[in-house]
Amino acid sequence: MSVTPKLSVTGLQAGYGDVRVLWDVSLTAAAGELVCIIGSNGAGKTTLLRVILGLQPSSGGIVLVNGRPRGRGNAAIGYVPQKVLIDPDMPLRARDLVALGLDGQRPGIPLPSRRRRALVEEMLSAVDATDFADARVGNLSGGELQRVLIAHALISRPKLLLLDEPLANLDIRSEQEVVELIARIAREQQLAVLISAHDMNPLLQVMDRIVYLAAGRAASGTVGEVVRSDVLSSLYGSHVDVLHVHDRVVVVAGRATDSSDTDDGGSAQHENLDFVRLS
């Protein structure tokens, strides 16, 4: 298996000022693979994605996209950001937002072209957004906007797709729709997909590998390899139980004790580990 993974991260370190959020994080994602980054709030999911995208500098480690060091504005990466607040009055339709995915960074006004229009239509139907293609983006529901943002990210045919908490603030039905959509697209277009979430359960059926972030470090592998008491306990530095309830996974962690019990150095972040929610 000598296919270069689309994404390869080795020994990544990153943080803000004096606060170190990520210590030694490594992961890979190959074409057609769906990798989920799981961690509670503050664990560093967004930081990790931002570093991969080049939006934030790392203080150590290597990020390779398609085998090459990640440069700024890499066209091979599609990005669906987490919180997008749009004025209801903003004069932009769903189709315009998708079209911006094609050439939004280029100067000038887009000249009408049949090819462009066709591409946009194709993308809109790929995400089932044709019904509201002409609606204002500010008026779309959470799930609808999510789909349009995915179309926006995909239209430039990236090789790697990053989604930052795409399921947050969605109701259960929209959640399922979005998960199925992402999985289908990943298969069809042979994309490497990275999804961050704080709850792994909606994604259990579709993910190929998991990257579990806690205490600034990561454990990556298949769900069976990673989501186990012994692995997670050593990650958190304190005892963690993994329970399987029907087809769901519940991670029960206690509060992190003081630093004398963990040997990951003085400035590692201690999280208040709350109950990972059972969906």
């Binding site: 803000y16 000022g17 004096d18 004025d87 009055d89």
Partner: protein, 298 residues
């Protein structure tokens, strides 16, 4: 140019004494109200109400009311009411609506000032309204000024804790049963009054400086609201007095030998204090997150 700090006659000049008193009163009130303006990130609202004061001041002159205080206050209160009515939750929509209301108000101000000028054949009215009338303040209006100021202070004092909490976190305040909308409305009234007062001293269009300059300076130096308020009041009074002093001294300054405008000098001193407050703080860059930052606020 005699080059003394206190030019002769400073302390015995009637106009100066009135100016010092009025200036101090207004500075204190502006500072107390302005602290919340800065915390709530509502400088634009304050600026708008000040500019709308131009409309009120010029209208009142047309109606024969020579003291602009009432015009300022009325216009600012109406403006505050409109802004509250438009009651838009989200900041950008509110800014746009505020801006458009401001545009209409200023358009009216343009008309009134034009009519003022042609009816009185002087342009002194414009200057008074736009840039203040501290040295020609009519002492007969002092009681009214103090009364309005007292109302503003009372509103702030009565709602202090509720206002503080709802400015920092409206959700938390609402969860605790604080009537956030009502508190916000009361604050807007206090803001309108404070702005009107500041407009009397340094003019409608410059009133924002008194309203947010000393508070912004104080908040740079301390994060405790009570202490910040005191610091802001002290800074405001100091800046006003310094400005008055300089204006008096400037009578002999080049280039025109009739004095520099006191409103400019006060604003300049306020600005200087603000800049000075940045310096030591620059070295203490430990906390990136702004602790007293506002979230969305009406």
């Amino acid at each position: 140019m005699t080059g003394q700090l206190f030019e002769p006659g400073f302390f015995t000049n009637d106009a100066v004494q009135t100016a010092l008193l009025v200036g101090a009163v207004v500075a204190v009130i502006s500072a107390c109200v302005g602290i919340f303006t800065v915390i709530r990130s509502q400088a634009f609202t304050g600026e708008t109400l000040g500019d709308l004061g131009t409309t009120g001041g010029s209208a009142s002159y047309l109606l024969g009311v020579s003291n602009p205080l009432w015009g300022f206050a009325t216009a600012a209160l109406i403006g505050a009411g409109l802004i509250e009515l438009l009651g838009v939750r989200r900041r950008p929509d509110r800014d746009l609506a505020t801006g458009i209301v401001l545009g209409a108000g200023l358009g009216l101000a343009a008309l009134f000032l034009y009519l003022d000028t042609t009816s009185s054949s002087t342009t002194g009215v414009s200057i008074t309204i736009l840039f203040g009338s501290l040295f020609v303040f009519n002492t007969a209006t002092l009681p009214a000024l103090i009364a309005l100021g007292a109302v503003a202070l009372a509103l702030i004092a009565v709602s202090y804790r509720m206002l503080l909490l709802s400015s920092i976190s409206p959700e938390l305040a609402a969860a605790r049963g604080i009537p956030v909308r009502l508190v916000g409305a009361a604050y807007l009234v206090a803001l309108a009054l404070a702005v009107a007062l500041a407009a009397v001293t340094i003019g409608a269009v410059l009133s924002t400086a008194l309203l947010i300059g000393p508070p912004a300076t104080a908040l740079r130096l301390t994060k405790r609201p009570g202490l910040a308020m005191l610091t802001a009041a002290a800074t405001g009074v100091l800046a006003t007095w310094l400005g008055i002093l300089l204006a008096y001294d400037s009578y002999y300054w080049p280039p025109v030998q009739h004095g520099w405008p006191v409103s400019f000098l006060i604003v300049a001193v306020i600005f200087a204090f603000y800049v000075l407050a940045q310096l030591p703080v620059l070295r203490r860059r430990t906390d990136r997150r702004a602790p007293v930052a506002a979230t969305t606020n009406p």
